[in-house]
Subunit: 136 residues, 2 copies
DNA sequence: CTACAATCTCGAGCGACTAGAGCTTCAAGA
DNA sequence: TCTTGAAGCTCTAGTCGCTCGAGATTGTAG
């Protein structure tokens, strides 16, 4: 039996966050000790680690909810889990692409050689519309 | 003189967001028409476009506030603006690196060949701790 | 003058936590 | 057994950067 602090240490999820997960129904209501403190078993720890990993991978809470629901029914075809993961992969790739564009732009902007703010490229670049590459 | 809708169209920032920016002091209080509607000039549009660009680049509102304060004093050395941009560049690079790691992991996970959830790698992978590469 | 679109203010809601106040319980040592 | 201090409890509110809706008012074209 683990206390919430044990769970936090073993999973890397803060106690407050564990309570929050319970509150939003991502974790089931934990059993309680005599004095009303939460007590957990292996299964709950496993689920929490699952959640932690998924969150680390940037999976949203609703998506995690779906995955948990899916995994509750092991006979079911896994195409749907696959779909969730793939969709997420696609958004991650988009984010990477977008960030790379930003990196290039900022690199250009940040290599400012001026001495005073008045002639500073950082500030001018942000104000000038024609430097954008047709994004808006 | 532009209405808030004009500003929205020209800058790509929603009217509600323009009001919000005014509320948090990112834009100054706009002048008003006879009937209390906001009216803007060129300068205000320029600043809004500046803000929009910076936000698009992922610069936080506090950082934008700093940049605006800096640009109000054109004699000042621009080293500080430079520093803000560079710091931001560093965080963007970190994000990219992190996302790439996620991409690799998800790629592995998402290539699931199982037929049922019970043997699905997507779900198993998320639950297993030894698949992490020492991140926690 | 009449429609109707645009704008106004105010307040709440989003996602995913996080922090703090003020109280109770647990566990280890004397 | 008692004490003490860490750890837990609940509840509320705050974070960030918007976004939306309700219900009232204003602007403008025909």
């Amino acid at each position: 039996m683990f206390s919430i602090g044990e769970m936090a240490r073993r999973s890397g999820v803060k106690a407050a966050t564990i309570r929050y997960y319970e509150q939003i129904g991502l974790l089931e209501q934990a059993g309680r000790s005599h004095g009303n403190q939460r007590r957990y078993g292996r299964d709950e720890l496993d689920r929490l680690v699952f959640i932690r990993h998924a969150r680390d991978l940037g999976v949203s809470v609703p998506a995690i909810r779906e995955l948990i629901a899916l995994s509750g029914d092991p006979q079911r075809p896994c195409a749907q889990a696959d779909r969730i993961a793939s969709a997420h992969l696609a958004t991650i790739r988009e984010k990477i692409a977008r960030l790379k564009r930003l990196e290039a732009e900022l690199e250009r902007i940040a290599s400012c050689k001026a001495h005073t703010v008045g002639e500073c490229y950082v500030l001018r670049a942000l104000g000038e519309h024609d430097l954008c590459e047709g994004e808006h």
